[in-house]
Amino acid sequence: MNLFSEKIEKAAAAKLPLRIRGGGTKDFYGNALEGEVLDTRGHAGVVDYEPTELVITARCGTLLRDIEKILEEKNQILPFEPPHFGAGATLGGCIAAGLSGPRRASAGSVRDFVLGATILDGRGRLLAFGGRVMKNVAGYDVSRLLAGSLGTLGLMLEVSLKVLPRPAAEQTLALEMPQARALESMNRWAGQALPISATAWRDGELRLRLSGAPGAVGAAAEKLAGDADSGQDAARFWDGVREQTDTFFAGDVPLWRLSLPSSAPAVDLPGVQLVEWGGALRWLKSGADAATIRNATARAGGHATLFRAREKPAGAFAPLPQELARLHRELKQSFDPAGILNPGRMYAEF
């Protein structure tokens, strides 16, 4: 840790950028990677895990799969089901990227489960925010702000997360239907007391994952009346969606991530789509130009991220309104006055 803070202090003094990196599994995400690599993998290990408190605290370099394994031994899970995108994925990268998986629409996002964090800011100062308890409203909620900040505000040393019990039963159903009907159905079902924990539509087929008490899962499966997938096929399918190893994601066509109100009608854009999160997340593989995609998504009430592409000339993330851009610059300035932490990774201007 002292090594980290020395490195940051030196870089700040010399105004030389640092690129915070764990396993590098999310190097593709965001904009340009600039600066000398600050490797976090040496700072690993679970600091505290109390299953009955539903809280785990671990160091940033801890492998995500190690955390999931430790939780699994106590029959618990990271509820936001984060994608790893590779065996080397670390906890720090998971929080910094702020990406959640299939369970997001029902369970919540990465930031929803962040309880506290210890960081080194851009001056190399050690700061602790939040805590290891469920409810904490002392001071601004900086630890949640860090989720998805792409390492631009500080180097996360330790993070505390809320965890949940693994659902006792799970079952996946497949139903054939076109996108418009799938969107309508997913929204309608989400308004009923059904234990739907994940949804994915592609290629005229909607898959629903039910999770919860065996009785509730069984009753819902009967009511929804789809074809049941075998346990193994289902696990493979959801893993493919979460890790983007599903055939939908194959190939070199740019991959866009459209985040929309769940009930927004199908967005009419060239390319193919995979719909998740009850309609709130739509993956688009399309060669259309950035402005076309961003404008159509904005008109539908959302925003579009260029998730994977060889080049991102228009930037990975949708541009911010003027006042929000100002707030971003000022916040960045207050955490990292020398502008050395992952500069340009989120927006070119900082």
Binding site: P51, T52, E53, L54, G98, R104, S109, R111, D112, R125, L127, A128, F129, G131, R132, V133, M134, K135, N136, V137, A138, G139, Y140, D141, V142, R144, L145, A147, G148, L164, P165, E184, N187, A190, Q192, A193, P195, G212, A213, G215, A216, G218, A219, L260, P261, S263, W277, L281, G301, G302, H303, F317, P319, L320, E323, L324, L327, H328, F335, M346
Partner: protein, 494 residues
């Protein structure tokens, strides 16, 4: 605690009132003492201050103009919702404008398919669930004050309630907020999608106690109302056993919809008041709720009964029907007013601890009762470790008031010491500003001030709340020496 002597600058008062009346109707600008007196405090009545001017805008444009006017004149602004806050977050400025959002009472849109409601900040928490009810939906966070508190205040405080272990806090149930910075710039954080580009400013703004922006519109998530719910009342003859039972329930893989604890003094106070049917012999009772489909609830209740029984419950009663379930809850929800009936005054505290330290902390509170000669019933959101000790005192007795303050400070510092926090859901406001110096170091407090400056460079929006000045912490350290050790030796002393 204490009340401030009114020191109104009458020239400034007149100047501001005249300016505001250029665009606000006469009835929306209050400055005469009989009109401003009702605004002198919020739910933390021990702190009172007469506002210089009260502005009650009726449109967003008027809110913006109030802010622009105050910003250009360097006049402080304190936003206020329903005034039910318990930490003095809406304590008025003696030298500025109290900006009441009480007239923003409209539900703008309910979308049953997308399961969202767009509401103005003055809409009451419970009213949101009322308008959602015809669609089988509701708004989950349910602070005890839900019939009176407004959603704008909930956003400012990140309010919780008795069901947040399963359903989350305000931050988990709000999708978007719209409002203005102190300079009158329009801002929108979040959206009706599940995320937004850039930093999560919505998460930062929620719970910021009105220090970063003034909210004029909120989009909340609505959830399907569970088909059914039942609650177990479990009696224990020992606090530690009850604490272990809470851990055992969660360890068994159950996340109860509600998991509340009340000690014997609390159940006795409540029982006289609402006749909830509590076991008055028990040292503590737990209320443990399950909700969902009928099959799910039956499975979960059976499992919870077994776990609680094994953990040493001396009695278990399961609500047989909805009226009985509501009666079991009525006692918990009425705990504060019930305690108000057995004492001239009570001081409701709010701290969070790791659940495993419960026995230790309750014993510590028991010892403090003897030390200070004051009674302190306890109610506890056991599932999420959030304590609400209620110190009974008489405000007319200066010495009792002093002892209450010292009692409370010791409890909060104990919370920090066992790895918890000084406020779980009521906020810092003015009440806990000194304890912030114990919870955070100089570098964190500086970071908070830097965040504040990004939104409010002149420091005009709700000044003096939530985050203490470093100089104040240095002074607090002087006053507050524990066992010969000075707090925060790392702070510069002024």
């Amino acid at each position: 605690m204490g009340s401030a002597v009114p020191q109104i600058d009458f020239d400034l008062q007149k100047k501001i009132s005249v300016k505001l009346k250029e665009f606000l109707p006469e009835r929306c600008v209050l400055w005469q003492e009989e009109d401003t007196r009702p605004y002198e405090c919020d739910g933390l009545t021990a702190y009172r201050r007469l506002p210089m001017v009260v502005a009650l805008p009726e449109t967003e444009e008027q809110v913006q103009r109030v802010l622009k006017t105050c910003f250009s004149m360097d006049v402080p602004v304190v936003p206020r919702g329903a005034g039910t806050g318990l930490s003095g977050g809406a304590l008025p400025p003696g030298d500025g404008v109290l900006l009441s959002l009480a007239k923003f009472m409209r539900v703008l849109r309910v979308d049953p398919l997308a399961r969202v409601a767009v509401v103005q900040p003055g809409v009451r928490n419970a009213a949101i669930s009322d308008v959602a009810a015809p669609f089988g939906l509701y708004y989950a966070p349910d602070p005890s004050s839900q019939i009176a508190c407004s959603i704008g205040g909930n956003v400012a405080e990140n309010s919780g309630g008795v069901h947040c272990l399963k359903y989350g806090l305000t931050v988990h149930n709000v999708l978007r907020m719209k409002g203005y910075t102190i300079a009158g710039e329009a801002v929108e954080f979040g959206s009706e999608a599940l995320d937004s580009p850039g930093y999560d400013l919505l998460a930062l703004a929620i719970g910021s106690e009105g220090l970063l922006a003034v909210t004029t519109e909120v989009t909340v998530k609505l959830l399907p109302r569970p088909e059914t719910a039942r609650v177990i009342m479990a009696s224990f003859d020992d606090v530690q056993k009850a604490g272990d039972a809470v851990a055992a329930v969660i360890g068994a893989g159950i996340v109860p919809a509600g998991l509340e604890m009340m000690d014997k003094p609390a159940t006795h106070a409540v029982e006289q008041f609402v006749h909830a049917g509590y076991d008055l012999e028990a040292a503590v009772i737990l209320l443990c709720e399950s909700d969902g489909s009928a099959a799910e609830v039956e499975e979960e209740i059976a499992k919870m009964k077994e776990v609680l029984g094994r953990a040493g419950a001396t009695r278990l009663a399961v609500s047989r029907d909805e009226p009985e379930r509501l009666r079991f809850w009525s006692g918990r929800k009425a705990a504060f007013p019930a305690v108000g009936r057995i004492s001239p005054d009570y001081y409701c505290m709010d701290g969070t601890i790791p659940k495993k330290r419960l026995g230790e902390v309750l014993n510590f509170i028991g010892a403090l009762e003897k030390k200070y000669g004051l009674r302190c019933p306890n109610v506890f959101h056991a599932g999420d470790g959030n304590l609400h000790p209620l110190i009974l005192f008489d405000a007319n007795n200066a010495d009792e008031l002093r002892r209450t303050e010292e009692f409370a400070a010791e409890v909060l510092e104990k919370c920090i010491q066992v790895g918890g926090t000084i406020t779980g859901e009521h906020g810092v406001g003015v009440e806990k500003i000194d304890q912030m110096c114990v919870q955070f170091g100089a570098a964190e407090l500086e970071t908070f001030h830097a965040i504040k400056r990004a939104f409010d460079p002149k420091g005009l929006l709700n000044p003096g709340k939530a985050v203490p000045l470093l100089s104040r912490c240095a002074e607090f350290g002087h006053r507050h020496v524990h066992a010969g050790k000075v707090n925060r030796p790392d702070l510069p002393r002024f």
